[in-house]
Symmetry: D2
Subunit: 158 residues, 4 copies
């Protein structure tokens, strides 16, 4: 089974949630498990999408209680690590889809790229160093494109 991370903000617009939900649903349809931070916003939408297609969802939680997981999480991992749990979401994924996102998502993208975990982004950060655009994040235009690319990149690694 492939494990694909879905990262994004814990508080997001309905439009962003719709994208995340489709990402989750398509991952499940392709037989991949969703790994995420287990809370609301993009995380909840991705889990909801995955469950709508009978998928498996793993939520790696920052706090000390499984009660904080959104209702679509099958496997809650309780870390008590606060934000340091972001590193675990990324390392436990074979590829990551970033949907929108703020600074927390940026930190996950950076950890993924540092660790060689492929990142596919939809409307997410663009990064520049020394006046050159960084090409670490693969840009996808649609949830379907993002999911196909993430699964393909994850398979190349195994």
């Amino acid at each position: 089974m492939l494990f694909i991370g879905v990262i994004g903000n814990g508080d997001c617009s309905p439009a962003v949630a719709a994208v995340a939900e489709e990402v989750g649903r398509r991952l499940a349809e392709r037989g991949a498990a969703v790994v995420c931070g287990g809370l609301g916003g993009v995380m909840e939408a991705a889990c909801r999408g995955a469950k709508s297609a009978g998928g498996l969802t793993i939520g790696i939680l920052p706090g000390d209680s499984r009660c904080h997981a959104n209702r679509y999480v099958d496997i809650p991992i309780v870390t008590g690590l606060g934000e340091a749990r972001n590193v675990l979401v990324v390392k436990s994924a074979q590829a990551v889809v970033a949907v929108g996102g703020k600074y927390g998502t940026l930190s996950e993208i950076a950890v993924a790229l540092k660790n060689g975990v492929p990142v596919v982004g939809i409307n997410t950060w663009r990064l520049q160093r020394d006046d050159r655009w960084d090409v670490g994040i693969e840009v996808a235009g649609t949830p379907g494109e993002a999911v196909e690319r993430a699964i393909s990149l994850a398979r190349e690694r195994t």
Copy 2:
């Protein structure tokens, strides 16, 4: 679904492994998922037992690679945290069964007791403070007894 931790040494005798395997098998028969550290010894035996009965196994790994999980782990969580991952095994479980164990297992028992996670022990540590025996660890004589007690204690908490 209940999540029950199984903790013990990563390198154990065949007799201890047989106990851990029966613990894993019985947990799966009761519908509980096995949460463990994902490596060898007691962890591998518990996962093997769980899979023999069609159960679900979660391995919270200390290193940076999913490759280090034993072959019976369904859901590898890659932490890169080293021994600090022991805290996550305990916090992600609703009760813990300790089988034998050395200092690493003792640290997990202590974290569990500190966090109010019930601990059932088979041939494990006994603890004394101020010349009095600590009664935090419930003692079980057999794998069957340990599993029934752990499930019962986990249910009381939810």
Copy 3:
């Protein structure tokens, strides 16, 4: 410079605090820095003792704010890791003095012993496996004895 951990409960009796304070003072007099969890009880008393003798104190905090450090901490390390920070207190010390303590202290003792960090205990846990007493913790009768032993054991390792 030697770094010696002082571990114990965050909420302790005046008698236990007096012991911890003397441990901290004697460590400072011997030129060793105190490493601790940075909060109250034994941690605060040890830091107060160290500062009374012009020592250096390091507090490895579980929360997200340096404001939670006791007032005698010179170097607050802010981890946000919750209890997983206990592992860091132990690993950052070259030997550890345990003063009294409950389950949290037991987890630190266990992590220390697992990692080969010497542990000297004053009125702390006694551990038994297979009906035999574990001799990992060196027992000291007084703060002075504990400090001399801890410094000696730390020096042997370097």
Copy 4:
């Protein structure tokens, strides 16, 4: 005492090292302690600069041994957390100076901005979201400017 983080790559050019060394020296001259990841490259250069001016240096190490600290680290914190230790470097600092840097540094910048820790950058990442430049990182042209700005921002927070 102010604690200012210096972040950047563990392997850097002599030109970048010279910048980091001047940042460290100027922080020490202003009475601020340097908090860093304790290894080579920018971290070592910043510590060397700080020590040349009699400053205090704290190295929060990813591995399990204090031996991996560069020789200019006064206070080694041994975490065993791998990359998750980056979060601790940032949280233990009252402001952060980023010198150059790759994906690891980017993750630290992101964690800092998420937590409200001010970031001053010298030749580091530029970030864009929704075709707008993110203004979270304050840009400094020289080490002197970066240090003055970081100290000023850190003071505003206390």
